[in-house]
């Protein structure tokens, strides 16, 4: 097993930051009693969460006597937060383990540090941060998310340090070093990282210049694992943009491979000879990705409303490693979206045409989607969408959202043309506030004309610090709405019949 000994670096950085934070704070704390407008704020808080859940089990549901079908868990989280006027910040959160879950010994430690960081800023230009079990990546609003906590290799919460500098001339540089350990391992030993560190190590450098009318950037990442020889990844990216015709053009390019010396063909790896009209992507590297988009191109036609156009291009090669970011490998897409907004009314119509090809499935073709969105009196929003994809049957979706102080209602109907009898899906979720304390909610879902699901819940709020919620149903409607309205391919819902009771109590001021 490969062991990387770099924990000492983390500890040195931690002591430096602690020293930076603690000395002035203790000096000001004495002044805290003398002057009410203290420059240091100290806050603490806590949350107690209790969950009782009964899952479907034959014969006994809902009052199961089988331990595998009923779950009791409760935990206490305590948080402590110190913030100084000079933007030093210390935050720590400790949590008890869950009780009643015997499936793993991860919670054998009754209390562990669940999250924490200590950060300091110098003259507003240099920031240092030491973090423990946090998600830390930035995206800076780029077209491609090259490093993400929602990726395969760095999906967990990590520990490490982060330095960011902003110099004169709008030049910025950031460096992040983190280790992503096994979650079970993280929660042992009081939540502190034991030495030597083991896990997936990440080095991320981002730098560039960001002016008002243009910007340039560079991203360098590598990921190495001490557990296996296979989890290696190296990536570099270049991004740039400039203002054009009142809008902005952004172009981003990245390449990814197992190791730094795996990159071939120079910095970009382009093959200009293979680039022809209609097959531009043939000249791009198979380990690269390219995204370009022109936004903000608008025409104000007075009483006729406003028109806009947003063309774009996306490419991701077959060998692009998509394990540390949110860029899928092996597809190419060029698209243009035309939109129109009414001059006075809240009404927006758009038409998007795209030409896609997926190298993994070797399927592709044109996609045409149209949408119409309007907001009516009282805040009722209605959205209608259609998808026409080559190789797939058409989809039509209509959705309404009504949200006010008394009720909230979301209704979606979707028709999937299957060639024979169509699939019809229907989701409605409603919530009613019964006075200031109680809220009643429920949902019903018909999936593809075949399966029906329901859920119901009641929530009681006792002031700002207490919430009790009881819910029951045959599914958990968390992502169902997004699946129905955004996904050209209908998804399948998992049957999850259960009854649950949840209590939360907040303490302190966080």
């Amino acid at each position: 097993m490969r062991i990387v000994r770099r924990g000492i670096t983390l500890y040195v950085a931690a002591f430096a930051l602690l020293a930076r934070l603690c000395v002035p704070v203790s000096a000001r704390c004495s002044g805290l009693e003398a002057t009410p407008d203290s420059s240091v704020s100290i806050r603490w808080g806590g949350v107690y969460t209790n969950l009782i859940r009964l899952d479907e089990y034959p014969l006994y549901f809902p009052w199961n006597d089988n331990s595998r079908s009923s779950h009791l868990s409760d935990r206490v989280s305590l948080m402590f937060d110190v913030r100084s006027a000079r933007q030093s910040h210390f935050f720590i959160k400790g949590t008890t383990g869950l009780r009643g879950t015997s499936w793993h010994d991860v919670y054998s430690s009754r209390f562990f540090i669940d999250q924490g960081h200590i950060s300091a800023t110098w003259k507003g230009r240099l920031t240092g941060k030491l973090f423990l079990r946090e998600r830390v990546f930035r995206n800076r609003g780029r077209l491609m998310c090259l490093v993400s906590n929602d990726s395969h290799l760095v999906s967990r919460r990590g520990e490490g340090f982060d330095v960011a500098a902003l110099t004169a001339g709008s030049v910025f540089m950031t460096y992040t070093s983190a280790v992503f350990r096994d979650p079970v391992e993280q929660k042992r030993n009081f939540g502190l990282p034991p030495l030597p560190l083991q896990g997936i190590f990440l080095n991320l450098f981002e730098g560039g210049i960001d002016r008002g009318s243009w910007h340039l950037g560079l991203t360098l990442v590598d990921v190495r694992s001490s557990w296996t020889q296979h989890d290696y990844s190296a990536l570099y990216g270049l991004d740039g943009g400039f203002s054009l015709e009142g809008g902005g053009v952004n172009i981003e390019f990245a390449r990814s491979a197992y190791r730094w010396d795996d990159f071939e063909g120079g910095l970009f790896g382009f093959d200009p000879g293979a680039m022809e009209w209609g097959s531009f992507s043939e000249g791009l590297p198979s380990d690269g990705s390219l995204a370009a988009e022109w936004t903000g191109l608008e025409l104000n036609a007075g009483a006729k409303g406003r028109f806009g156009l947003a063309p774009g291009y996306r490419y991701s090669g077959r060998r692009f490693k998509d394990e540390i970011g949110e860029v899928s490998s092996g597809y190419v897409e060029s698209y243009a979206e035309l939109w129109w907004k009414h001059a006075r009314l809240a009404m927006l119509a758009s038409l998007k045409a795209a030409d896609r090809y997926d190298y993994r499935t070797n399927r592709g073709g044109g996609v045409l989607s149209a949408s119409f969105r309007t907001r009516l009196r009282g805040g009722l929003e209605t959205t209608a969408k259609t998808f026409f994809a080559e190789g797939y049957r058409p989809v039509f979706v209509i959705s309404t959202v009504d949200d006010n102080s008394l009720t909230r209602l979301v209704t979606t109907a979707r028709l999937d043309d299957t060639g024979g009898e169509s699939w019809f899906s229907f989701l409605t979720e409603a919530c009613v506030n019964l006075g200031r304390r109680w809220a009643l909610g429920g949902s019903m879902y018909l999936e593809r004309s075949v399966r029906g699901f329901y859920s119901a819940d009641i929530e009681m709020r006792g002031g700002r610090r207490f919430v009790f919620r009881a819910s029951a149903g045959t599914y958990v409607p968390v992502s169902t709405y997004a699946d129905l309205t955004c996904d050209p391919v209908a998804q399948t819902t998992r049957r999850d019949k259960s009854i649950s009771f949840q209590t939360r109590i907040w303490l302190g001021g966080i």
Partner: protein, 312 residues
């Protein structure tokens, strides 16, 4: 009770015909929804379907006539209603209904005609008439109402091949039925509605008029909660023969006069939307009849001298 041999023979004959027609219908294999092997007095209106059948305690439109006649008091003035429902995108049966209602002397009268048509020439027609009256009415919207309705129905069907073992020759047959419905609605508070209704069916049977099946009964009872004139939760239990089914429904009105409805029974989902103008209402609804079989339909209501007391 002594039953004459003629009645017994007629009874057996009707059973043979219905059994033979059922076999033929199954063999045809082109119908998604069940065809009636006897008179099916149950009528589903558009709103009732969208609320998952939990309509008896609401009964707030003219179609209450065939579900809970006491709910006719929730209409008023002059109202006309028509709807059309279709199953399986046209592959299954369709049905159309027309209703009319008028209020005179404090009594609301209603009349309706409907036809449900299946593949193979089977059809079920109904004519209904009824009334409802407030027997007690409070100042804040509470009331007790009762109502009654009479319905005449006819099921006609085609036997193309007949059934030699059964002794039934090919041809077109029909039999009649009569129902006497009673209903009661209680609103002790303006936001609570309780209901009970009975549908009593007597079939006169095929051919001669001396054959009859003793009264068959469907009982509905339920409760609804009407919150702030915006949100409605409704529950109905239906007792048919030895079978009980629970129906749940809710409706929520948005600031624009659009009401979204949804319901469920036996884990089948129903839903729809209704636009409520001053003089008219239109609905678009759907219901899951069976796995992979959806009914959909639309309705229109037109009002004249619509009173303000109408709830929703």
């Amino acid at each position: 009770m002594k039953v004459s041999s003629t009645i017994r023979r007629n009874h057996r004959k009707v059973r043979r015909i219905t059994a033979a027609s059922g076999v033929l219908l199954l063999l045809s294999g082109s119908v998604s929804a069940e065809k009636p092997d006897r008179f099916d007095g149950t009528i589903s209106s558009a709103r009732s379907m969208a609320m998952g059948g939990a309509f008896s305690p609401l009964a707030d439109d003219i179609t209450a006539l065939v579900i809970n006649p006491a709910g006719l008091v929730n209409t008023g003035g002059v109202v006309f209603y028509g709807d059309y429902l279709e199953t399986g995108g046209g592959a299954g049966p369709w049905e159309g209904k027309l209703f009319g209602g008028v209020e005179r002397w404090g009594i609301v009268f209603g009349a309706a005609g409907s036809r449900k048509s299946y593949d193979g020439g089977t059809a079920e027609s109904q004519l209904s008439t009824g009334f409802a009256i407030d027997v007690l009415s409070g100042s804040a919207g509470s009331f007790i109402s009762v109502g009654g309705a009479l319905r005449w129905g006819r099921v006609s069907f085609e036997l193309e091949e007949g059934c030699v073992p059964c002794g039934v020759s090919p041809g077109r047959y029909s039999y009649d039925a009569l129902t006497a419905d009673l209903g009661m609605m209680i609103r002790p508070l303006p936001f609570i509605s309780l209901s009970a209704s009975m549908e009593n069916i007597s079939e006169t049977g095929f051919g001669s008029g001396d054959y009859y099946i003793p009264w068959d009964r469907t009982v509905r009872y339920g409760a609804a909660w009407l919150y702030e004139d915006r949100f409605t939760v409704s529950w109905e239990r239906r007792h048919e023969g030895e079978r009980n089914t629970d129906h749940f429904g809710f409706g929520l009105r948005t600031a624009v006069p659009l009401e979204i409805m949804a319901g469920m029974t036996s884990e089948r989902v129903y839903g729809g939307a209704r636009w409520d103008g001053n003089r008219w209402r239109v609905s678009a609804v759907f219901g899951q009849e069976a796995e992979d079989v959806i009914s959909a339909g639309a309705s229109v209501e037109i009002f004249f001298n619509r009173p303000a007391r109408i709830y929703q």
